[in-house]
Amino acid sequence: MTTTNRYLLKAGILPQGDRADLLIVDGLIHSISPNIVDSEAMVFELSGSVILPGLVDLHTHLRQPGREDAETVVSGSQSGAKGGFTALSAMANTSPVADNAGVVEQVFRLGQEAGLVDVFPIGAVTQGLKGESLSEIGAMADSIAGVRVFSDDGNCVSDPLVMRRALEYIKKFNGVIAQHAQEPRLTVGSQMNEGSVSAILGLKGWPAVAEEAIIARDVLLVDHVKSRLHICHVTTAGGVEIIRWAKARGINVTAEVTPHHLLLTDELARSYDPIFKVNPPLRSERDVMALREALADGTIDIVATDHAPHSVESKECEWQEASFGMLGLETAISIVQKTMVDTELLTWAGVADRLSSAPARIGGYENHGNNLAIGSKANITIIDPSATWIVDRDLVASKSRNTPFHGFELPGVVTHTFFNGLPTLIDGLLVSKEVGL
């Protein structure tokens, strides 16, 4: 193949619904119009597939450093590109923890070397994720990784004074605290949503109030100190109500929902198969419907995957022994189409906002979420919404296989992904960096 810097996407559908061609030149979106002719460009016939701005994930576990057996920055980037993502946010709960400039710079550099997506490291709020003393937040913000999002995800910043100080401190550089809302005392040993299913299964309950109490406390705290708060993976109808109330009062809070919480319920725990064990847990049908509605009306700002790869043995065991978490990158857009687009709760323009513009804005990711603006970096995802596929855990790009959707038939196939103007996925196949184009 010849080396080129011109790519012409023919006959796609823009998020707003117009049919158009899109020309990429030198890494930038050069032009969008009904009929572009360019004899030098490599041409992709889209035949009515949807052109979306590259997807941005604000919540990804890439496991490097520490658990390279489950995922690496490279394999996670491949998984992201396959799922249509051009930016990932690497959560801080690695080993060692990303609570200093050294680790975030390492992860950032690994992302650059992989070159398939932008990897934006998230810094830990507290040293060692212990919730006691602040990590080197300023040093991480000033590092080459330029960290703006801070989270102890996996753990809650449960001490209210620590949370208050963190929220105040990050105002210095317009950072944001992404809170994993889980009151620890109410969830000691918890295994699944507390309700009628947990009562029957004899698995320790995880009450909705453990999430809602922290959300309520933190929206009040952020209002008091006038900083910026993001709530990770909201799962309950009650949590949605509190965020809706906070936004109505003008409180500076944003929120995310995961694809799995938009589709799956705690009924799945009846199998005792820990592939469905996740933190926060799958909730009830009523919660699922409230989350969809909240994502549609903007109460919940974004979809974030909480992609959490785990080794085989950490899921091939008893429920209570198993690790929390599920893969998400490669199924995210399909789940969103199934639960939000095909149900007419969200248009593709809405999807572009919730999975690209809004997360890029929250994270401060400048070259992403630009809504296909002329002259912006060509970060683009092509999805064929009329095609369906069957999820096969043996065919994932991730190093791990813990998808809860194995065997599911899902709508929407990601066919192409362009990162900074270069294809990372063509016809559903990852582009090898060595081969080039």
Binding site: S198, G202, W319
Partner: protein
Amino acid sequence: MRHLLSVSELTKIQAISILDTASELARISEGTVKKLPTLRGRTIVNLFAEDSTRTRISFEAAAKRLSADVINFSAKGSSLSKGESLKDTALTLQAMGADAVVIRHSASGAPQRLADSEWMKGTVINAGDGTHEHPSQALLDAFTIRKHLGKGSSDLHGIRVAIVGDVLHSRVARSNVLLLKLLGASVVLVAPPTLLPVGVESWPVTISYDLDSIIPTVDVVMMLRVQQERMGDLYFPNAREYSRYFGLNAERLKSLSANSIIMHPGPMNRGLEIAAEVADSARSVIVEQVANGVSVRMAILYVLLAGQPLETGNK
């Protein structure tokens, strides 16, 4: 019926056929030849990943009376205590040709994981999993109730049962609620609100916090063990207060109606949930529960492994 994992998987006909088979086996056991050749050449593994004395011995006696070969595999001193995974244990048992595994495990759902996996092919019998279920205990309890109060009926229609104590953490309570309902009994759960699970509203039971008002109204009082490790965990102020409100003492025994019986799955905390004089009273059928346990577990093995209920001679 291939496995016995949860009472919820039993039909009423299956449950009654296990009880009828147990009656027949109990009758045979009273004769001079206690042993039946039914399971000769079959291998049953008792996989006890959690300490248990009575259930393990009960299953062992049951299997031996049916002439099965029994292998005991207990937590202490085995590979289980060295962190071997459930999967590797199952693969080992499969390689050794176990026809059935009787499993006791601290993790709710472990027997189902074993049964649903590709790791082993044999029959799985749940001998108590975490805070989930203990089906053989419920079957022996139903057997005991039917024997005393059944009046010749095959089921437990119209019998009123109180289950008292730590329902939240009790696998015995969960299995009993399901089986008693299946067999037509009515159940009232009596416990401090802290020891009832959120979601109990959807169970086919009534709830009471007042033991004194319930005792005169029921035919069976089934006391649950209060685990020592619950003491420091805010479920109730202290053991004395628990005992005062939810313990079955001599005073409460007096208000029990005639013919009503007292049960306990054991092991008992004498002086806490049950007073010694109550446990040893004429109303107590606690020792008999243990004896019935062997017959009922023989019946379970018989039905699952011999493939049919024993024809009863007295019907």
